[in-house]
Symmetry: C2
Subunit: 216 residues, 2 copies
DNA sequence: TAGATTGTTAATCGATTAACAATC
DNA sequence: TAGATTGTTAATCGATTAACAATC
């Protein structure tokens, strides 16, 4: 039933799946059993055809005339995203942002679990964040191996980000989420997502009304 | 010289401008005077033609045969993004993530300045974060008016996000950056950017190698 | 001058949306 | 049965890239 012929699927599609998943999880909590692409599209601000097409890349999950069974679709999307298995995550950089993310509940959900925290500063090593001991950078490689860590989150200052990325790659990490405000370069077999908080905020400024100009 | 005929410019273009700006600022700090679209593209992983085209929407900033003057281009991009004026920002939700962002240096740069922090909890009201007093929600509307606040950052839990968004809109805010893991709905004259930390992380899982399947 | 690089038009590529037969 | 809704193909739309004349 499911198409296992993985034609490469575009990033845009993959980025939407977790959004669908989140809404479906909400519906499930509300006790809703089935949902149509139309309903989902309305709530999420997306074209229903797009939602159907996105899902259809991976199989036939719906029923004509009925819609999608919420629980079943949740299960399927979790499978597609590999969120049906526990994914151990390492966080590097125990500053304000790093510790906030480690404590951030929404972040610790859905089987992605921060299981190790590293920091460059000897002052921080030994402290705990949410029950996880902060380790020195020297222990990164071994810990990644021991705990089977597959994803790294970078929350160090920009000037240190590339060096940390190199170390994560060297330790055998498969994917990196970078919160440092700089572009990092990694080999093609490692996936990087840039969570660009600053650029996101700055692009917002463009859309402000500008009363100081007379616009006509 | 600059085209003031604002054909609507696509979001994709606007989102790239702060990335250019950041790199140019770095170059300036390094003492670099001019840069070509080719150089920029190489560093930022982007097609040079795209960079030239993006910039050309707003004017002729480069010189044929030479490239772009770094300082001049910085100035121009800052103008385009309205970052040449101080933009007062309010942050709502003084939890872990909120306080971390308020203290986050990269966030307090480039004329976007968090000038007020609000929290629902009476326990938090009165405390300070980085010299800014946490105010109760009741004071939001008046403070937004008094301090001419134009942008709101939402860092409350998901279930509270829509309510906070409504209050920000009611107070006359022009743009919202939403960190709560949920979609919020606002009138069309208000701009919302979703900083979707969780979905970003979850989509990363898709790209992990999956040794448990035999892929052929 | 020769080489480099812009700004811009044209070509390509990819993503979104519309439409509809199939069917619950 | 009639109405609803999927999965999918075709049409549209938009964004990216290539190419090149202009020119520093």
């Amino acid at each position: 039933m499911a198409k296992e012929r993985e034609q490469t699927i575009s990033d845009a599609v993959i980025k939407r799946l977790p959004i669908y998943l989140r809404y479906l999880t909400y519906l499930d909590r509300m006790g809703v059993r089935t949902v149509s692409s139309h309903q989902m599209g309305k709530e999420l601000g997306q074209n229903p055809a797009q939602i159907r097409k996105d899902l259809a890349y991976f199989g036939e999950f719906g029923r004509k005339g009925i819609g999608y069974e919420v629980r079943y679709l949740i299960k399927k999307i979790r499978q597609i995203l590999h969120l049906d298995q526990l994914i151990p995550v390492a966080l590097v950089g125990a500053g304000h942002l790093g510790t906030a993310l480690a404590r951030y509940n929404a972040f610790q959900q859905d089987n992605m679990r921060i299981v190790a925290i590293f920091d460059h500063s000897p002052l921080k090593a030994g402290r705990e964040v949410d029950g996880i001991r902060i380790q020195p950078m020297e222990e990164l490689k071994q810990t990644v191996k021991d705990k089977d860590i597959r994803v790294g989150i970078i929350t160090v200052p920009d000037y240190a980000a590339q060096e940390v990325a190199d170390q994560l790659v060297d330790a055998g990490i498969e994917a990196i989420m970078n919160f440092a405000p700089t572009i990092i370069h990694v080999p093609p077999n490692v996936r990087v997502h840039h969570a660009d908080l600053t650029t996101e905020l700055h692009s917002l400024a463009y859309y402000l009304r500008h009363p100081e100009y007379i616009v006509m």
